[in-house]
């Protein structure tokens, strides 16, 4: 039995980092280890989350293990990380570059700027093991000075098993299963996702091919990004697409499942992703994927979806049209996605590799 502390700045159930922390916690617990989660702020009661600074009292032996989730700037976290004398594992989820938040939120610019600076320090601090959500992230760490032989890729744990086991929300199904083509994107509505490009691609489809269609932007919004949302609203109204582009804000798991069920394809035009869990969800929920190939997206999708190297809305529109018109093709592409999910990204597969890494630490 080993003592393992998992340290993250915020612990919530509805984001990628939170789900990854929970996945690790459960896997280690099942193996019989003494695991605790530490955070600065948290919104869950179960499992118990401990106050960040108390981790120093828990991990005292050199054989103890700290798993530090890095996704944002956090001075105290960085301090705790350097103070502890146990084995340290970094789980790197990537930090969105500050440029995306400029003109939108000064505090976010600051916090991710710090996160980027701390990434360099973390990379150079010779931690025991570096686990990255994707190869893209891993290369960033190595470039920042981390030793290549201590770096590995481990996709994040996710809540797809929950989506699988619940019933979809019927009101969502009633509202949107109306014979209109539904194009879905999922994820926190954050400026790095470049929703303007998404709306642009959709507008090209809507006006050139099929106006009986709808773009569903499903994901939690953040008050700090209001200027960004304002801009998106102006864009949709300039394009006369107010009725066809729907932003939902945060949805329950049941609603999320319903959105996956009523949609015909999944589209993403993000400019920065460290892994992009919604892509894996789309694969698992058998939705064909359309994307622009930035950062970690090509790596996550592989050959299981259409990923354009160039950002050309006409290509995207034609691809939407081709897929919407051809049900067999959609099913075929979705099947490829589902196979990829089964082969690489199920929680079971992730747990196997995670426990292997942890086993080698001892």
């Amino acid at each position: 039995m080993t003592r393992v502390g998992i340290l993250t700045r915020t612990m919530t159930e509805d984001d990628a980092v939170g789900n990854d922390v929970l996945g690790m916690y459960r896997a280690l617990k099942r193996e019989g280890h003494d695991v605790r989660i530490y955070a600065e702020t948290w919104s869950i009661n179960e499992p118990e989350v401990h106050a960040d600074h108390s981790v120093v009292d828990f991990l005292k032996n050199p054989s103890d293990i700290l798993i530090y989730h890095h996704s944002i700037g956090w001075d105290l976290g960085r301090e705790l990380l350097s103070k502890l004398r146990c084995k340290t594992v970094i789980k790197y989820h990537n930090v969105t570059p500050p440029e995306f938040f400029e003109g939108i939120s000064a505090s976010y610019v600051q916090i991710v700027h710090t996160g980027r600076e701390q990434l360099k320090q973390i990379a150079r601090s010779n931690h025991t093991l570096y686990l990255s959500a994707s190869e893209y992230n891993m290369l960033e760490l190595i470039e920042a000075g981390a030793e290549a032989s201590r770096n590995f890729v481990l996709p994040p744990f996710h809540h797809i098993d929950v989506l699988d086991s619940i019933n979809p929300d019927l009101s969502v199904i009633d509202r949107y299963r109306t014979g209109r083509a539904n194009i879905l994107t999922v994820g926190r509505v954050s400026p790095n996702k470049d929703h303007a490009s998404l709306i642009e691609a959709f507008a090209n489809y809507y006006y050139n091919y099929n106006s009986n269609s709808r773009l569903l932007i499903v994901g939690k919004q953040n008050e700090a990004f209001e200027p960004y949302y304002q801009r998106l609203r102006e864009l949709t109204s300039s394009l006369c697409l107010v009725d066809a582009v729907i932003l939902t804000d945060r949805v329950s798991n049941e609603e999320m499942k319903a959105y996956y069920m009523i949609s015909h394809l999944f589209m993403i035009t993000s400019r920065h992703e460290g892994f992009c869990v919604p892509l894996v969800e789309a694969m698992a929920m058998k939705l064909p994927i359309l994307a622009y190939g930035s950062t970690a997206i090509p790596e996550t999708v592989g050959e299981a979806g259409i990923v354009w190297d160039e950002r050309n809305p006409l290509l995207m529109a034609e691809a939407i049209d081709t897929l919407i018109k051809d049900k067999a093709l959609r099913a075929n592409l979705a099947e490829k996605g589902c196979n990829r999910y089964q082969q690489l990204f199920t929680n079971r597969k992730i747990e196997e590799s995670f426990l292997k890494f942890m086993g080698e630490l001892r």
Binding site: P97, P98, E99, F100, E102, G103, I104, S105, A106, V109, Q110, H113, R116, E117, K120, D194, A196, I199, E200, A203, N204, Y207, N208, P227, R231, E234, L235, S238, L239, R271, E303, A304, G305, I306, W308, N312, P313, L314, L315, A317, E318, A319, T322, K325, D326, A328, L329, A331, N332, L333, K336
Partner: protein, 569 residues
């Protein structure tokens, strides 16, 4: 772009290439109009600056296009904070109307105005019944105001004065005196108000000007867009017109050229004819006159020869055209002949149907009692039952539909075909599915192996031999393996039938011998053939044991029909 086979491994890169090509093609054909959002994206205004050194930025280009920027003008005064315990009366008096009432409540009673009090005071203020001092003192010296105990400097005196004004007679004098004393202050206030109003007016004018300028800019952009649309439309129209005109010109030119060519050819022919004629007459004249001047004669002859050769060399394409023309004439003739044949055939087939009504009444008269016929047809039901057939039965020559009725009663699905329009109409009215058609034609339109049983009672004796064999072949084709054919026809082994009764039906062709039919069925691919003579004549004098004239009995009183049932191998 349908995928033919979903199970086939999908190559995403090939799919993407197809999409790329399709976009390129549609763009080249002008079928796509790209929507570019760059011009629609508002430039983000910088928020408070934060020093950033790491990472390279990805900038979204967003040049501003038509932008309507309206100046902000603040005509409202801020509401005062209610947190203080002490105010000067002038702080409160500087507000007007609604603002005054709201602020008075906040300052004096430390709360928002309730709607009845608010409306009441606002009405009083607007009607002049109360002035601001009245309202302030009313609020301040109300029980609630006393409880709050907010100090309002400079209120006590005006409040007292206002109360004094209300005294009878004396009040007016006091009011007058105070008014006189306050006159300079009033004048100053008035000029302040005037200055303030002027400034506000200036601001308004400025704002209106800016709005006007923005609107003009927008109007200008709209005009430009309109103009460019007009230009595009005009250029499209003119280019379309130009290309149409060019096409027309070139067609005209080609037409003229060919006309010229024909004329030239005609002229050449004519001149050659003339020349030839002249030459020949000259030749004759020369012959007579200069018979011995052979050299000259020879020259003339060779000239003629050359001429003839020239005439013979008609342009090859003209010959070809002539050939095509005559071919066309031939084709037209042939088509005309075909049309005539078709018309006469049509007339003939129409003629055939003229007798439908007659034959229908003949059936009624000669076929026999409906109940009896149905009873007799029951004979065939066990065959269907044994083969497990509950549907897919086709009855050829259904006539009055006796068999169809029986099948319906038995719950066996069936359809039928008959050529007699009158009978078909009658059956349809009874609710049966009956096609009006020639049996062979109808069968030929049915798919292979699509029927479980085909019945044809008293049909084949109407057909010439070749047609009958063809019909049996078609029946064989449309039956499923194991499907049944069931035929009934008059038996010529009964001599009365063969010699007399058979001919009572004027549409009968010739009797078919039972053994011949059995042989043909075997030859055409049917087996398990069951042949039975049915419907014997009653009251035979030869049947009695004493006479033992069996053959006579068979000849004259033997079965009048036979049934033959076979199944497809």
């Amino acid at each position: 772009m349908q995928t033919e086979d979903a199970s086939q491994e999908l190559k995403v890169s090939e799919l993407m290439d197809r999409i790329r090509e399709s976009v390129a093609r549609k763009e080249a054909q002008g079928k796509l109009s790209a929507i570019d959002i760059k011009s629609m994206l508002r430039e983000l205004e910088p928020v408070e600056s934060v020093p950033v050194s790491a990472g390279e930025g990805i900038r979204v280009d967003s040049p501003s296009a038509i932008q309507l920027t309206l100046p902000k003008i603040n005509l409202e005064t801020e509401l005062i904070e209610g947190g203080r315990d002490e105010y000067h009366v002038n702080e409160l008096l500087k507000y007007h109307d609604k603002e005054f009432v709201s602020n008075a409540y906040r300052a004096v009673l430390k709360r928002e105005a309730d709607s009845s009090g608010y409306n009441n005071y606002l009405d009083s203020l607007r009607s002049g019944r109360y002035n601001k001092v009245d309202i302030l003192s009313a609020l301040r010296y109300s029980p609630e105001g006393e409880e709050r105990g907010v100090r309002i400097q400079g209120l006590r005196l005006p409040a007292t004065l206002r109360r004094l004004y209300r005294l009878p007679a004396l009040g007016y004098l006091i009011q007058l005196a105070v008014a006189l004393a306050r006159l300079p202050v009033l004048v100053r206030n008035h000029s302040q108000l005037e200055a303030y109003s002027f400034v506000q007016r200036e601001k308004l004018v400025e704002m209106i000007k800016t709005v006007e300028a923005s609107v003009e800019r927008v109007a200008e952009s709209v005009r430009q867009v309109d103009e460019s649309l007009r230009t595009v439309k005009a250029s499209l129209e003119s280019s379309l017109e130009a290309s149409l005109r060019a096409m027309e010109d070139s067609l005209n030119a080609r037409l003229h050229a060919s006309e010229d060519y024909v004329n030239a050819f005609k002229a050449m022919m004519e001149s050659q004819h003339r020349l030839q004629h002249q030459q020949i007459s000259a030749l004759f004249r020369e012959q007579r006159r200069l018979i011995d001047e052979q050299k000259e004669l020879f020259d003339l002859a060779s000239a003629r020869h050359a001429l003839e050769q020239e005439t013979g060399a008609l342009p090859a394409d003209m010959e070809e055209q002539l050939k095509q023309l005559s071919q066309k004439i031939e084709d037209l003739r042939a088509e005309l002949a075909r049309n005539e044949r078709a018309t006469s055939l049509l007339a003939m087939s129409e003629e055939r149907h003229q007798l439908d009504a007659l034959y229908a009444s003949f059936e009624d008269e000669f076929r026999g009692d409906k109940r009896e016929i149905k009873e007799r047809l029951r004979y065939y039901l066990p065959f269907l039952r044994e083969a497990g057939i509950t549907g897919g039965v086709l009855d050829i020559g259904c006539g009055r539909g006796d068999w169809l009725e029986l099948l319906a009663e038995e719950g066996i699905e069936a359809e039928a075909v008959d050529s007699n329009r009158v009978l078909v109409e009658r059956c349809r009215r009874s609710g049966f599915r009956v096609a009006q058609s020639d049996a062979l034609l109808y069968l030929s339109s049915q798919p292979d192996a699509s029927l479980s049983a085909v019945t044809a009672f008293h049909v084949i004796e109407h057909l010439p031999f070749e047609t009958m064999v063809k019909l049996l072949d078609e029946i064989h084709r449309v039956l499923v393996p194991g499907g049944l054919v069931m035929l009934e026809t008059p038996s010529p082994e009964n001599l009365v039938v063969a010699a007399c009764n058979f001919y009572s039906d004027p549409t009968h062709n010739r009797p078919v011998s039972a053994h011949t039919l059995k042989f043909i069925l075997q030859e055409r691919g049917f087996d398990s053939i069951h042949l039975q003579f049915i419907h014997p004549v009653e009251g035979s004098p030869f049947e009695t044991g004493a006479l033992r004239l069996e053959s006579l009995h068979m000849w004259f009183y033997g079965p009048r029909d036979y049934a033959i049932v076979g199944s497809k191998k």
